[in-house]
């Protein structure tokens, strides 16, 4: 051990630490962990579920005659949406619950020179990027798994890119609400109770328009932000019928703002007593 008197000289001038720089450094830390330290974990967590959906619903069911041959085409936008949305949601909610309650890791970041709410926003941004990366990786896998491959007819690029950007933000915003509102002891229960309905009412496995004959359920799905992600991608990459573009935009942006605002407020409340 060196002598205790050997403190480093105060040679390095304290840099004028800007909040933007701190924000970016927090993102760097998260990307470093996700893509360098825990890449395997990230890929498994992100891809396993959508790959199984694609395989079972897109390949196995048509193969055994339990679903039409073209079901895969309907399914793919939904599975991409699900990857975008849930990757972002889980990567916001779970780490927050753990870091606030058990590891207290969040404390060091809350002491970084930026406003507390910005640390919450940063969580949303990073989780959204993870969702986008996951969705991009799903595409070539889908091409391998689905019998018809991936064939986007009439792709509308602005719509596709818009949903790819905003969809995961909506998921991360919902995740921020869950991650800050839920007590750590109840996280298992809440995840089961919230995630399963979100998953199955999000127009992922069926086009929204096809629910005409099940009107009440069609209305229920409109509460789920995931519906707008699924329908948005369906609108962008297929020629089938879908929810109107204006409604999709409104649902996506509206829910993102609503959940984002509640989540950031909740985060501030957890961060500053």
């Amino acid at each position: 051990m060196s002598s205790p008197g050997a403190t480093p000289p105060r040679s390095t001038a304290r840099p004028a630490a800007s909040s933007w720089r701190a924000f970016w450094a927090l993102c760097e830390r998260d990307f470093w962990v996700a893509f360098r330290r825990q890449l395997g974990g990230f890929l498994a967590q992100t891809l396993l579920q959508p790959v199984f959906y694609l395989f079972i619903f897109g390949r196995v069911l048509p193969e055994i005659g339990a679903a039409g041959q073209s079901y895969g085409t309907q399914l793919l936008p939904g599975v991409i949406a699900l990857t975008l949305f849930f990757t972002a949601l889980q990567n916001t909610a779970l780490p927050l619950v753990i870091e606030f309650s058990f590891t207290k890791e969040i404390e060091d970041r809350l002491l970084a020179p930026l406003p507390a709410w910005a640390v919450g926003v940063q969580k949303i941004i990073v989780a959204a990027v993870r969702g986008i990366v996951g969705a991009i990786i799903i595409l070539p896998l889908a091409a391998l798994i689905l019998p018809g491959g991936v064939e986007f007819n009439d792709i509308s690029w602005p719509g596709f890119l818009g949903v790819m950007l905003i969809g995961p933000l909506a998921g991360a915003a919902v995740g921020l609400v869950l991650g800050t509102a839920v007590d750590a002891r109840q996280i298992n229960v809440v995840f089961a109770v919230v995630l399963t309905p979100l998953l199955f009412t999000g127009a992922t496995f069926y086009p929204w328009a096809a629910l005409d004959s099940l009107k009440w359920f069609q209305v229920v799905t409109l509460i789920n932000p995931l519906t707008y992600v699924s329908e948005g991608l369906r609108a962008a990459v297929t020629t089938g019928s879908h929810l109107g573009n204006g409604w999709i935009a409104l649902g996506l942006i509206g829910w993102t703002i609503v959940f984002g605002a509640i989540g950031v407020r909740g985060f501030e409340r957890r961060a500053v007593d």
Partner: protein, 312 residues
């Protein structure tokens, strides 16, 4: 010169709480001082530190660090402070070195500067060569040293330490004491909370004793020791069927405490109580001596005197 930490009439009631966690705390810390906050569990120490470190919003009162109003401008305050928390909060997804370099990055240090500072601090805190270790594999003492290294990464002017040596082995504790003294020598202001009276006595220039959300005494360690009715005296353990204090009252101010089984602990305060006279007086009163020791005023005595013996 204005104090570097200035807390004035601080109140805090947590949402849903019935009583105030902090009920009017005021104190000032001069630059370069080591200031100790002492108090039983739940006295309001951690809440007070929380308001100074931007993590707790005061219900009322003023909290200023280095001329910055912490409530009005928390971001500016965070640039000049650092915190060593009560419970380890290292980033377990990162190795030890990365814990330091990313912390440096949050504060805007260039890649080269943060690497250099991290290496220096690892060496300074006796963690040389352990930078690539996972922090999960660190012992309690090593983790605490790494947390201190992390706190020093951005060269804070004020360092807050919340029970920094609780649960550490004596070697780690001595090492951290040396570190804190070195920091003080460098002009860093330290505010620490502790239950360890020896620690407070050794390190602190001044101490505030906090109880029930209020500062009940504030002075230098020496000044505080004088708070006791009499800092010195004798303590006798006596076997006696009845309270023996009346037989000893002539020798000085006496306090007696029975254990309910005919054994009494009697304290006679005063600097010139003769042990022989005390034994003689006790035996004359029908008591039998079990044990005798000299008491000197310690911070612990002062602490217990001021805050009582009740468990919190």
């Amino acid at each position: 010169m204005a104090p570097i930490i200035d807390v004035a009439d601080l109140h805090k009631t947590y949402a849903g709480a019935k009583s105030e966690a902090v009920a009017g705390v005021s104190f000032g810390v001069e630059e370069g001082e080591v200031f100790g906050l002492l108090g039983p569990n739940g006295a309001g120490k951690t809440t007070t530190i929380g308001t100074l470190t931007t993590r707790v919003r005061p219900s009322s009162g003023r909290v200023v660090v280095d001329g910055i109003d912490v409530v009005a401008d928390p971001v500016a305050a965070k640039r000049v402070i650092a915190v060593v928390p009560q419970r380890p909060n290292l980033d377990r997804s990162l190795n030890a070195l990365e814990n330091l370099t990313f912390h440096g990055a949050y504060f805007g240090f260039s890649r080269r500067d943060r690497r250099r500072r991290a290496d220096e601090l690892l060496a300074q805190l006796g963690l040389e060569g352990r930078g690539d270790d996972r922090v999960d594999n660190y012992s309690g003492g090593m983790a605490q040293r790494l947390i201190i290294a992390r706190a020093l990464m951005h060269d804070p002017r004020v360092l807050f330490l919340d029970e920094p040596t609780t649960g550490l082995d004596p070697q780690s504790r001595l090492f951290l004491w040396d570190q804190m003294e070195a920091l003080k020598a460098r002009g860093v202001t330290l505010l620490l909370t502790t239950h360890d009276m020896a620690e407070a006595d050794r390190l602190c220039d001044r101490i505030a004793i906090v109880d029930h959300g209020k500062v009940i005494a504030s002075d230098t360690p020496r000044g505080l020791r004088r708070v006791l009715p009499d800092a010195e005296g004798l303590e006798l353990r006596l076997a006696s069927a009845s309270d023996p204090s009346s037989a000893l009252a002539a020798l000085g101010s006496v306090s007696a405490e029975g254990d309910g089984e005919d054994e009494w602990k009697v304290r006679i305060y005063g600097s010139d109580v003769a042990p022989g006279a005390a034994i003689a007086a006790a035996e004359a009163g029908g008591a039998r001596l079990v044990d005798l020791r000299r008491i000197e005023g310690t911070l612990e005595d002062v602490f217990v005197h001021l805050t009582g013996r009740d468990l919190r």
